[in-house]
Every structure is written in C-alpha cells, then in structure tokens.
Amino acid sequence: MKMQWRSLSIMMLAILLLGSVVYTYARGGRGFRGGGGFAHREGGFSREGPAAGGGFASRSGLMEGRQQFGQRALAGRQQEANGLLSNRQQLARRWQSRAEQYRRGYPYWAGYPGWDAGAGLAALGAGAAIGAAAGSSTAYPSASGSGYSAAQPCANAVVAPGTGVTYYNCGAAWYTKAYGPNGPVFVAVNRPPGL
C-alpha cells in the first residue's frame, strides 16, 4: 500500500513538472520543447550595450551608475558612494560641456574626452549633435515614432520620386533604412516630402 502511494506521488509530481514546462513554453517563456529544440525569442536578442563599443570610457555606465551606486552601496559606504556619484555627475557634465566645445576647435579630437564611450542607438535617439554626413536631406526621424527596428517593419515599400530613397509605409508610420552601430536598421521617420 505504502509503495503504491509512493509511485502515485512520483507520477503526480512528474505530471505536474511536465505540465509546468509545457505551460511555460506555450506562454513564450523559457521552457524547452520535448523534441530537443530551443525556443526562439521573438525579435531576437539585443546586440546593444555598454560593452559593445569596446571603449575605454562608458557614457551609459555613468548614467546607470547614478542610480545603482545608491542601491548597491551598503549603509556604511553611503557617504563614499555619494561622493563617487557626485564625482561622476561632475565628470558627465564636464564631458558634455567639452564635447559641445570641441566642435569649434581644431584639431577635431582636441578636448573631447571619452569620445569612444559608444552609446549606440539609444544615444542617437536622444538627438546626438553631429557634423555633416551624407544622405541626411531626405527624411527626418519621427519625434513620436517607434524608434528603430532590425526587421523590415512591413512590406509596403515606396520609392520617393527624385531621391530614389526607399521608404516603408506601415499604416500611419513611415520608416527608412539607415546604418546604425550594428548594421542597417529601419528608422521611424516623418512622412517624406512628396509621398
């Protein structure tokens, strides 16, 4: 009798575990298929991050550090953390100020510390001020657009007369292809002139 109960319990536990895995997978979670395959993440994994640029400086690290120092530091180290936080804020401000100033100077790199703190698309979305670049006169990123997409947003491609630039009209939104830090992406733009 005791053995029967044990067997029944083990069977119930196995059914519960299997059910949990199937349920998790069905919901798009981290479960795995019985066939040995792996779940593929919709939209893929991000290639963007502070380490992607391989720089000896990190701009996003500075931004995150502001919040994380407070949380991470133990009570006894609170004062030290605040000091570091303040230093890093000052450094960030100094960098921004110098980055704004350097463009007026020569040579080009002079007074631009932390220039290799690659911040990728996130910083570009924030409106990085840059010098002249090719191909910028045909479209503008939409201020209210949905940002960037690695995949083609829809199939409705439209070629702008005159410029020959291809746009994608997806409902009320417009996109065009542009070169970002990790290759081509589709950027939300305002409705192009003439379309």
Binding site: G53, F56, R88, A117, I130, S136, Y140, T176, G183
Partner: protein, 230 residues
C-alpha cells in the same frame, strides 16, 4: 603600458587580427556574448581598414581614407559614407564619438594613444608575468573613471597588446569586452586599392542613423529658438 601605447602609435603601418567578444545584458537579465573577428590594417597618417565577420556570419568593412568614411554590410548589401577629411585621429573621433558607430578599441588606432591613456587611466597595478598566450607577457590591471581594464602585453622589444578585457563596472550586469590579438605584422605593404571602396553591383547607399538624427535636430532648431533672444 605606456611603452606599448607608444610603440603601437608610432608604428607607421601594421596589421593585426582581433578575435573579440562582448556581453549584452538583456532586459530579462540573460547575459549574451556576441563575437566577431576583425582584420585591422593601418597605414598612418590616415588609412585604416577594418574587415569584420560577426558570429552570425555578417561580413562588414570599414575604410577611412583621409577624405571620408565608408562602412559596408556585405550581407545586407548596403553601405554608408560620410565626408570627413583628416587623420585617423580625426576620423576615429568623428566615427565613434559623433556617428556613434562601433569601432572597438579605437584608441589603439589613434596616434594619440599614449596621451589618451595618460588622460584617462587613474591607476594601474602589475598582476603577474604569464606564458599562457604563446609568448612571455605582463598582465596588468587598471582603471579609468568608468572602465576597469586588464591588458596582457608582450615582453621584449615589441611590447604589443596580446589580450584585453574591459569591464564596465557601473553598467547593469557589469558586461565585459574581450579581445585577443594575433598575427601582429609591421612589415606590410598594402596597395592604395585596399583603402578604396567600390560599391559592389546591387549595393545600396543609405544614410547613417546619426545623419537622420542630425536632420531632425536641424529641423527642430528654428522652432526651438522662436521667440528667444536674437
């Protein structure tokens, strides 16, 4: 470290292969490592070429030729170009700092490499001498304001970087960038054609994302200043 920086920055031409990887902490906490291999060829003062192959097979090319910048994605058959006359130093700062494009370990390319390190590095400590990289090397650890780094530098009359690990301490999940250098060659004689880009048939020219951002900021400027001081 400063000997290494001086040696690399003063060499008039060189090539090296870099196997690198970097972590990206996903929103749900997974830490994913992305890898690539790059062949860097550099002729001072203004001609670097970087051929890359990502772990997903995407092949890329970056050419700076003293007049402008070209980056090409062979898989997607698209390229972007920007005019920017000047030295490697100028072009690298523009490409990475302003266009926000990827050029990992860009400091190694610029002639100001020693000065850049001097400005940034706050502390350095010697870890050990090691033989694990195929040649006797000094392992050092150092820190800038935002990045902790480790370098393995070859001993002897050619103090070349053999390996680098950068840790972004303040970023979520403390991601790292890792690079292993091989096939350093200072006896190269590349032709000018290596630094000339001819678009392959069917390749389309597209703008840099940063160029679109700039267009937006220029477009918004008049509205922003309306009513302000003249």
């Amino acid at each position: 470290m400063m000997r290494m920086a001086g040696f690399v920055s003063k060499a008039p031409k060189w090539s090296v292969t870099v196997h690198s990887g970097y972590d990206v902490v996903q929103l749900d906490g997974y830490k994913v490592e992305w890898n690539d291999v790059r062949k860097v060829t550099l002729v001072r003062p203004d001609q670097p070429r970087v051929e890359g192959e990502r772990s997903d097979g995407t092949r890329t090319l970056l050419i700076l030729d003293g007049k402008g910048i070209t980056t090409f994605d062979e898989s997607a058959k698209v390229y972007a170009q920007a005019s920017h006359p000047g030295s490697i130093d100028d072009a690298a700062v523009y490409f990475v700092g302003d266009l926000r494009m990827r050029l990992p370990l860009a400091l190694l390319l610029v002639s100001r490499f020693p000065e850049e390190l001097q400005q940034r590095v706050q502390s350095v400590e010697y870890v050990e001498k090691t033989m694990t990289l195929g040649a006797p090397a000094d392992h050092i650890v150092g820190r800038t304001a935002t990045v902790d780094f480790q370098l393995w530098i070859a001993e002897g009359d050619k103090p070349l970087p053999l390996r680098a690990v950068l840790t972004y301490q303040d970023a979520r999940g403390q991601p790292q960038y890792r690079a292993q250098f091989s096939d350093w060659n200072f006896d190269i004689d590349p032709s000018d054609s290596l630094f000339t880009f001819t678009p392959p048939e069917g390749a389309n020219k597209i703008p840099f994302v940063a160029a679109l951002s700039r267009a937006r900021s220029l477009r918004q400027r008049p509205a922003a200043t309306k009513g302000g001081k003249q």
